[in-house]
Symmetry: C2
Subunit: 134 residues, 2 copies
DNA sequence: TAAAGTAGGCACATTGAGGTAACCTGCCAC
DNA sequence: GTGGCAGGTTACCTCAATGTGCCTACTTTA
């Protein structure tokens, strides 16, 4: 709840800082931007269950607008997290799927979910306490 | 590079979805918002090395404005990631430090950094390829 | 002929994160 | 006094992310 006597620092992070990983064109930003968008993780989430078509995705994430669905899928495709395959059905359909790289990213999301699950009660408690004092 | 035959889904994620973790007041959002801000991770990064005073933090992250430094520190404190301690020195000084909860969050950041380190070349390759085709 | 379902595109408004710059409150030294 | 440092706060502005609504082009079904 208060200051910690500091468990020893994670050396990877110390090393990362020394390599300049805190700069603006930083590779980590590329990844963080995926996590930060409102929809990207939800879509990765859906595709992690299995490949899905455009319309199915839209119904799976009912709040998303068509525009944001298209746009988010594009940037995820652009960065190689998902693939887009047009199938020559009668009305051509488009299937989206995780790539191997995208799939390798999901364990990180799973860990974040797990951490959030373990800590969100304390976070909300701290928040209420902080707000109460003004 | 193309569609993956889908390694088996991570059951924690499937379970999370069934518990409604994709909703708007979702606990995961609370955590993702920390990662998404421009400065929060950098400040956690600095405090992970050790406790630091306001002015030291400002010099450690030279691009940050006083306003954003104060603001980001406040929200991190509000959510219990860091602690704020006023010390009765001649001009009173303020020391910021990771809390235990904040420290427990750092391994996740370390993993994201490691993943970004391994994959950013491919991401940028995919991006260039995608942009070339138009 | 009309409706409804495929997968989008385009134009505009909103909104919130972030930046800039100035001011403030103590306390110290000159 | 005047100036500086510490740690802020406040007002104002910008810009990118996101939302809303309407449009296309094609095909199947009623």
């Amino acid at each position: 709840m208060t200051a910690t006597p500091m468990n020893e620092p994670i050396m990877d992070l110390v090393a990362a800082k020394e390599r300049g990983f805190t700069l603006d064109d930083c590779p980590v930003r590329d990844v963080l931007d995926k996590l930060s968008g409102k929809w990207a993780t939800l879509l990765l989430f859906e595709l992690h269950i299995g490949p899905k078509r455009f319309g199915v995705l839209r119904r799976s994430v009912p709040d998303i607008s068509q525009r944001m669905l298209t746009q988010t899928l594009r940037t995820l495709e652009r960065d190689g997290f998902i693939s887009r395959t047009v199938k020559p059905t009668k009305p051509p359909s488009v299937e989206y799927a995780l790539t191997d790289m995208g799939a390798s990213f999901m364990p990180l999301i799973a860990e974040i979910v797990a951490w959030a699950d373990q800590n969100h009660e304390q976070i909300r408690l701290m928040r209420r306490t902080f707000d109460a004092v003004e």
